[in-house]
């Protein structure tokens, strides 16, 4: 019951503010609503007992990436841009893509009802008490099974950092 309340609360907040984010004219408002969405998603992670992902989401997304976004929005002052047209004329493309995807997932969810005992709408998770401590489990995953991807990800970050510095630097 509590699970349900928490899930629907966070899911509602996430979807609502995501919609707000896409429709606001002012980029700063969009950023604020995106932060709300990300926090709500973090709440969902917590509800899924993924504490480390939750805190990674808060630290990296909310306090890292979003700060970067807001910083850039502040730098490229958008006083003028707000009054310009904010939406390009690709409405129909968007509608088509959306409908196609929604149909796909809908069919999938609907068809899964047919399978007795293990459909998508039946809870069949490992009980919460039996999960290993999240941080430790994640560490084992990261540094045992997926060490190579981990290293690649770190190289990716390094490359991105260098790239960002090079690009944002003033040409002298």
């Amino acid at each position: 019951m509590l699970d349900k309340i928490i899930f629907f609360f966070f899911a509602g907040v996430a979807i609502l503010s995501a919609a707000m984010m896409v429709t606001r004219r002012n980029a700063m408002h969009s950023a604020v609503f995106l932060i709300t969405t990300l926090l709500a998603t973090a709440g969902i992670f917590l509800q899924l007992r993924a504490e480390f992902i939750f805190i990674a989401q808060v630290i990296v997304y909310v306090a890292g990436i979003m700060v970067l976004f807001i910083f850039v929005i502040m730098l490229v002052s958008l006083d003028v841009a707000v009054h310009e047209m904010q939406f390009s004329r690709q409405k129909w493309v968007a509608l088509f893509v959306t409908l196609a995807l929604a149909l796909e997932v809908g069919v999938m969810l609907w068809s899964s009802r047919q399978v007795p005992g293990q459909g998508f709408l039946l809870p069949n998770a490992v009980p919460a008490g039996k999960l290993p401590p999240n941080t430790e489990a994640l560490a084992h995953g990261l540094f045992d099974a997926y060490l190579l991807p981990f290293e690649i990800a770190s190289v990716l970050l390094l490359v991105a950092m260098v790239g960002a510095v090079v690009m944002a630097k003033k040409r002298t």
């Binding site: 899911a11 995501a18 984010m21 992670f45 993924a50 850039v72 968007a94």
Partner: protein, 100 residues
């Protein structure tokens, strides 16, 4: 833990909203933010399945996605700043340097 279908539905909704944002918005910063939303939607799926199977791999890859999102944001915003310095705009259909 709710049935997995709910998470899939939430994830789909966020993904679609993100996709709509990517397609329709002109402001590159907002487009980038929509991409973050899409990545986030994928994360929900990964973590939900990780929970349902009791396997930590999904979370590991969710972490990778977060790292990737950080990298993408850094580079993307770097490009935006560089572009803004040259062209004084952040609207994507005015980014037409290659058309010259």
């Amino acid at each position: 833990m709710m049935p997995i279908g709910y998470y899939l539905f939430l994830s789909m909704a966020l993904f679609l909203i993100g996709a709509i944002g990517v397609i329709t918005r002109r402001n590159v910063i907002v487009v980038l933010m929509s991409i973050e939303l899409v990545l986030n939607a994928a994360n929900i799926n990964l973590v939900a399945f990780s929970r349902i199977f009791g396997d930590v791999a999904g979370q590991v890859f969710a972490l990778f996605i977060i790292a990737d999102a950080a990298a993408e944001a850094a580079v993307g915003l770097g490009i935006i700043i560089a572009f803004f310095r040259n062209r004084e705009t952040v609207l994507e259909d005015e980014m037409d340097l290659l058309k010259w």
